[in-house]
C-alpha cells in the first residue's frame, strides 16, 4: 500500500515537474509569457547537431521566426534508437542532423513520414532519400577527412590515401585509430574504405582484400584515448594524423594551436550529409512542416553556414557559406559510394569489425 501511495505521489510530483519545467523553458525560448500553453505548441526537435552553441542559436532564431522549439540533443546512434523506440508514441516532431545512414534505418522502421519541403528544388535530391517517397532531405554537407599535422609533415611526405597509413612504414605508428565504431565519423571512414572492395561473393559483400585492409588498419596505428581529442594528441606529438569531419578542423586548429592539412585520396572523400525529417505520428504536423520549410530555407541555412562554418546542401544558401569552406568543397572530389549498399551492410560490418579486427 505504502509503495503504491508513494508511487502515486511521485507520479504527481513528476507531472508537476513537467508542467513547471515546460513553463520555465518557454520564456527562455520565446521571450513570450504564456507558460501554461507552452508545452502544447512547442516543437520537440531531436538532433545530434546541437553542440558548440548550435542548439541555443537555433532555439533563438526559431523563436524570432515564431516557432517554439525544444532541442533534445543526443549522439547519432542514440537519437536513431530513440526515434525508432518511440515510433508508436512519438515525442519528437522533427529530427535533423543525422546523416543518411541513420535516416535510412529510421525510415525502414517507419518512424518518419514522407514530406516535400518548400525548398526541395533548391537541393540536390541525390544527397537525400534515394526512394521515390522522400522522407528526409539534405541540410549540410560534411566531408570525412584524413588530416595530418602540417607543421611536421609536408604535403609531399603526407599520405595520399587511407591505405598508406598501414602500408607505409613511416605512418604505421603515427596515425590514430578508433577503438569503437559507435560514431558516425568512424562508420563513414570504413564505408569509404570498404566500398572500394565491393564483391558480391565476398563476406558481407566485401572481398577478402577489403577485410585485409581493415585488419591492417587495426594492427597498426595508435588507439584513440577516451576523452582525449585527436587534436590534443597531435599537439602533444603522440600522433600526427587521424580521421576528422571537415566542420571541426578550423576551430580545433585554433584551440590546440596546431596546423592541420587534409588528404584527398584519388577516389575522393566520403561525404556525410546531415538531413532533416518529419517524425511520423506527430500531432503538430502542420507546424512541424512549417518549421522544416523555414529551417531548410536558403536564408536560415545561409546564416547557419556563416555561424558554424558549414557547407549547406541548399544551393542558394551555399552562396552565403564562408569563402574558405566554399573553396574547400569546390575542389573536393566526392567519393562515389553506393549508400544503399552501405546502409544495408553497415550493422554487420560494424559487428564483424568489433568482433574480429579491433584489438
Amino acid at each position: 500500500m505504502q509503495k503504491f501511495k508513494t508511487l502515486v505521489a511521485a507520479a504527481v510530483a513528476v507531472t508537476l515537474l513537467a508542467g513547471c519545467g515546460a513553463g520555465s523553458a518557454a520564456p527562455e525560448a520565446s521571450g513570450s509569457s504564456s507558460p501554461a500553453a507552452a508545452s502544447g505548441d512547442t516543437l520537440v526537435v531531436y538532433t545530434n547537431s546541437n553542440g558548440e552553441g548550435r542548439g541555443e542559436w537555433l532555439t533563438q532564431k526559431a523563436a524570432e521566426a515564431g516557432f517554439k522549439i525544444e532541442i533534445v540533443g543526443a549522439g547519432g546512434a542514440d537519437a536513431t534508437n530513440k526515434l525508432i523506440a518511440e515510433k508508436n508514441n512519438p515525442i519528437a516532431d522533427v529530427a535533423f542532423g543525422l546523416n543518411n545512414m541513420y535516416f535510412v534505418q529510421i525510415k525502414a522502421a517507419d518512424a518518419i513520414e514522407a514530406y516535400e519541403p518548400a525548398w526541395a528544388a533548391e537541393v540536390d535530391a541525390s544527397l537525400g532519400d534515394g526512394d521515390d517517397e522522400k522522407a528526409y532531405w539534405p541540410l549540410v554537407k560534411q566531408a570525412i577527412l584524413l588530416g595530418y599535422n602540417s607543421d611536421k609533415i609536408t604535403p609531399e611526405q603526407a599520405p595520399k590515401d587511407w591505405t598508406d597509413l598501414w602500408s607505409k612504414d613511416e605512418f604505421k605508428t603515427r596515425y590514430e585509430r578508433v577503438t569503437g565504431l559507435g560514431t558516425a565519423t568512424a562508420q563513414l571512414v570504413f564505408a569509404g574504405i570498404l566500398s572500394r572492395y565491393k564483391d558480391e561473393s565476398g563476406e558481407l559483400g566485401i572481398s577478402d582484400g577489403g577485410w585485409k585492409q581493415v585488419e591492417q588498419y587495426f594492427q597498426n596505428g595508435s588507439p584513440a584515448v577516451a576523452k582525449t581529442d585527436l587534436f590534443a594528441r597531435i599537439a602533444s606529438g603522440e600522433v600526427d594524423m587521424g580521421q576528422m569531419p571537415s566542420s571541426i578542423v578550423a576551430e580545433r586548429e585554433k584551440s590546440f594551436k596546431v596546423n592541420v592539412e587534409t588528404v584527398v585520396p584519388s577516389v575522393g572523400v566520403p561525404l556525410a550529409v546531415e538531413q532533416v525529417a518529419l517524425v511520423k505520428g506527430t500531432d503538430k504536423k502542420e507546424q512541424a512542416q512549417k518549421f522544416i520549410d523555414w529551417f531548410g530555407s536558403a536564408e536560415v541555412q545561409g546564416e547557419w553556414a556563416q555561424q558554424f562554418n558549414s557547407m549547406p546542401a541548399n544551393k542558394v544558401a551555399a552562396a552565403k557559406a564562408k569563402p574558405e569552406v566554399l573553396e574547400f568543397f569546390d575542389g573536393l572530389k566526392q567519393q562515389d559510394i553506393d549508400w544503399n549498399f552501405v546502409q544495408e551492410n553497415m550493422g554487420s560490418w560494424v559487428e564483424k569489425i568489433e568482433l574480429e579486427y579491433m584489438t
Binding site: 509503495k3 511521485a10 525544444e70 533534445v72 515525442i91 599537439a235 550493422g347 554487420s348 568482433l355 584489438t359
Partner: protein, 607 residues
C-alpha cells in the same frame, strides 16, 4: 531453510498486500519488459537464433575482453578488500595521527567517479603526469607510458571503489565488542593475531557483501579501461554498449549481458552460502565501544603511518587536480599542462549561463531524490518480509528483484519502451513512453538490487524480540513496522537513499532513452556539452560538471552522515552515524543500543 514456511505467510493480510503489490511491480517492470527485450533479441522471427553465441565465441576480441572483465572482477574483489580494509583500519581501528584528515581524504571516492576520476589519475601517473616526471628522473630508462594496462586499471579502480568499505565495513567494525579484543590481549594475542582471528572474522558477512559489489564493479568496468587500459586491456562493457546501440547487433549485447548477469547471480549465490555458514551473532548482551588500538611495534607503527599517508596522497591528488583543471581551458586539460595564468572562471560561466542553466540540475535532483526515496521506502517493507520469512517463495522473489543487476541499464530502458509504448493492461492501459513517469520507473528499478541487499542486512541486525515485544502489546504489523522497526533502520535507509541519489544524478544510459524531452536530466546535458566530437570546451565542461556534482554529492553525504554523526556524538554516546546502519550488513553489530548509552556515562568508557 529456516523461518516460516511459505503457507504460513499467506495468513498475514499485511504480507498478502505487500506481496500483491510486489508481484505486480516485478511482473510489470522487471520481468515483462526484460523478457520482451530478450525474446526480441534471441527469437527475432519467433524461432531461436544461435547466431549471437556463434559470433561471440568465435571472436577473439570478445573472448579476450570478456576474460579481461572477469579477471578484473576477480582481481578487484581481492585488491579492493586489501586497500579497503586497510583504510578502514587506519581510520577506525588503529590509533593513527591525523586519522580524521585521512578519513576525509579516503572519503573523496564518495563524491566522484567515472571517466573524470580515471582522467584525474592520468594527470598524475600518465606519460605527462607529475609522478611520471619524477619517476623519470629517478629511473631514467622508465617507459613514460608505464601507467597503463591491467595494472593501471586495477590500481585506479581499486582506489576508486573503496567507498563501500568506508561505509559498511567501518560500521561493522564499530559493532565489534571491544571486550573480546581486550580478552584476546589478556590472553597474550598480538595486534596482528587479534586482527586476524578476532576482528576480521567478525567482519566476514559485511566483507562478503562488499566483495559482491566489488566483483560487480569490476565486471562492469567501463571508463578506467577505456582511459588507461591501452591496447592490451580492454573490457567487455564498451562492446556491450556499442552493440546495444546497433539494432542488428543487439542480440550480441543481450547475450554478453546475460553472461555477466549469470556470473553475478552465481557470485551472489556463492556469497549467500558462505554468508550463511559464517555469520556470527555476537553472543554478548552488553558490548562495549571499540577503542582505537595503538600499534606497539614502533617499526610497524611507522610503516602503517607511512602507508596511510601515501594512500591519502593517492586518493586526494586526483581530486585536487580535477578541481584545478576545471578552471583551465580545454586545450590545457587535453594536453595535461597547467599554468596559473590559464585558470579562469570561464568554464563555470559558460556552463552555468547556458540557456538551460540550472534547470537540469533541479530536474536531476528531483528525479534522483524521488527514485531514491521510493526505492528505499518501498523496499523497506519488502526487505523486512524477505529477511524474516525464509522459504522458496521469498527466495524466488529475492532473485527476481536482482534482475536489474543482470541487464545493462540501456537494455532495461529498451525493454520498458518496447513494453509500454502502447496501451498495456499491466499499467491500467496507459502508454508510458513520452511521460515523465517512465524514467522514474527505470531509476527505481535500477536501484532495487543494491537497496534490497543493504536494507535486508540492516534488518538482520534488529533484535527480533523488539518486534515481538511490540506485537505482544497488541500493535498491528504496520504499526510495529512504523514505530519500532523503522526508526531503527532509518539511519541505514537514509544512507542507502543518499548513495542511490548520488549515483543517479548524472545518469545517461537510461535517460537517453526514457527522458521526457522537456524534462531533461543532467546526464543528457552533460553528454551534450562534453562529447569529444562536439567541441574543445566539452572536456572542460566535463570537469566543471564533475566539480558541481562533487558539491551536490558532498552536500548530500554531509546532510546524511556528517550532521547526524555529530548530533549523536554530542549526546555522549559514541558517534555512530547513520551509515552505521548499512553496516548492519554485519549482523554481528550489537543489537542493544540503550545499554551502550548507559555505559557511556561511566567514566571507564571515556577514552
Amino acid at each position: 531453510m529456516s523461518g516460516a514456511p511459505a503457507r504460513s505467510m499467506l495468513r498475514s493480510p499485511f504480507i498478502l498486500t505487500v506481496g500483491t503489490v510486489l508481484t505486480w511491480f516485478i511482473a510489470a517492470f522487471l520481468v515483462w519488459p526484460n523478457a520482451n527485450v530478450l525474446i526480441e533479441t534471441f527469437f527475432p522471427d519467433g524461432s531461436f537464433s544461435g547466431r549471437a553465441a556463434e559470433k561471440l565465441f568465435s571472436s577473439q576480441r570478445a573472448m579476450k575482453s570478456l576474460g579481461n572483465s572477469f579477471l578484473l572482477a576477480v582481481a578487484l574483489s581481492v585488491t579492493v578488500n586489501v586497500v579497503g580494509i586497510f583504510i578502514v583500519l587506519v581510520t577506525h581501528y588503529f590509533r593513527i595521527r591525523g586519522s580524521r584528515i585521512l578519513f576525509l581524504g579516503y572519503a573523496t571516492t564518495f563524491i566522484y567517479g567515472g571517466i573524470v576520476l580515471a582522467a584525474g589519475y592520468k594527470f598524475i601517473y600518465g606519460d605527462k603526469g607529475i609522478v611520471t616526471a619524477f619517476l623519470l628522473n629517478v629511473v631514467p630508462g622508465l617507459d613514460p607510458g608505464w601507467f597503463s594496462g591491467f595494472f593501471a586499471v586495477l590500481a585506479v579502480m581499486t582506489f576508486a571503489t573503496t567507498t563501500n568499505h568506508m561505509l559498511f565495513v567501518a560500521n561493522a567494525l564499530k559493532g565489534v565488542d571491544y571486550q573480546t579484543i581486550e580478552a584476546a590481549k589478556n590472553l597474550g594475542a598480538s595486534t596482528w593475531t587479534i586482527l586476524r582471528r578476532i576482528v576480521l572474522p567478525m567482519l566476514k558477512p559485511t566483507l562478503f557483501a562488499v566483495t559482491i559489489l566489488s566483483f560487480l564493479t569490476g565486471l562492469g568496468a567501463l571508463s578506467a579501461p577505456q582511459v588507461l587500459g591501452g591496447r592490451d586491456f580492454q573490457t567487455i562493457t564498451p562492446m556491450i554498449l556499442t552493440f546495444t546501440n546497433s539494432p542488428t547487433s543487439r542480440d550480441l549485447a543481450a547475450l554478453l549481458a546475460v553472461i555477466l548477469g549469470a556470473a553475478t547471480i552465481l557470485m551472489l549465490a556463492v556469497m549467500s552460502r558462505l554468508e550463511k555458514g559464517g555469520t556470527y551473532f555476537s553472543v554478548s548482551k552488553v558490548s562495549s565501544a571499540l577503542q582505537k588500538q595503538k600499534i606497539t611495534n614502533p617499526a610497524a607503527n611507522i610503516a602503517v603511518h607511512a602507508a596511510a599517508y601515501l594512500l591519502f596522497a593517492v586518493y586526494t591528488l586526483p581530486v585536487i587536480l580535477i578541481v584545478l583543471f576545471s578552471f583551465a581551458d580545454g586545450a590545457a586539460i587535453q594536453t595535461g599542462r597547467l599554468s596559473v595564468d590559464s585558470l579562469t572562471l570561464d568554464n563555470y560561466v559558460r556552463v552555468l549561463t547556458q540557456a538551460s542553466g540550472l534547470r537540469p540540475f533541479v530536474i536531476s535532483v528531483i528525479y534522483s531524490a524521488l527514485a531514491a526515496v521510493i526505492a528505499v521506502g518501498g523496499l523497506l517493507l519488502v526487505a523486512r518480509i524477505l529477511q524474516k520469512h525464509r522459504n522458496w517463495v521469498t527466495a524466488l522473489f529475492e532473485y527476481l528483484l536482482h534482475i536489474p543487476w543482470i541487464l545493462p541499464s540501456a537494455l532495461l530502458a529498451l525493454g520498458l519502451i518496447i513494453s509500454y509504448d502502447h496501451p498495456n493492461p499491466l499499467v491500467g492501459g496507459a502508454v508510458l513512453t513520452g511521460t515523465t513517469v517512465i524514467l522514474l520507473i527505470a531509476f527505481i528499478t535500477v536501484k532495487i538490487p543494491f537497496t534490497l541487499r543493504m536494507l535486508k542486512a540492516s534488518f538482520a541486525s534488529v533484535n527480533s524480540s523488539l518486534e515481538e515485544a511490540a506485537a505482544i502489546m497488541g500493535a498491528k504489523t504496520l504499526y510495529v513496522f512504523r514505530r519500532v522497526l523503522l526508526p531503527l533502520v532509518l539511519p541505514a535507509a537514509a544512507a542507502i537513499a543518499a548513495l542511490n541519489f548520488n549515483s543517479m544524478l548524472d545518469d545517461y544510459d537510461t535517460a537517453i532513452f526514457l527522458a521526457h524531452p522537456l524534462v531533461q536530466p543532467l546526464g543528457l546535458v552533460i553528454k551534450a556539452n562534453t562529447d569529444g566530437a562536439e567541441g574543445v570546451d566539452g572536456v572542460a565542461s566535463t570537469f566543471v560538471y564533475t566539480v558541481l556534482l562533487m558539491v551536490i554529492t558532498g552536500v548530500t553525504m554531509y546532510l546524511v552522515y556528517g550532521r547526524s554523526g555529530r548530533r549523536r556524538g554530542s549526546k555522549g554516546g559514541k558517534p555512530r552515524g547513520p551509515l552505521a546502519a548499512p553496516g548492519t550488513a554485519a549482523p554481528a553489530a550489537s543489537p542493544v543500543v540503550d545499554v551502550r548509552d548507559a555505559q557511556a556515562s561511566a567514566p571507564v568508557r571515556v577514552p
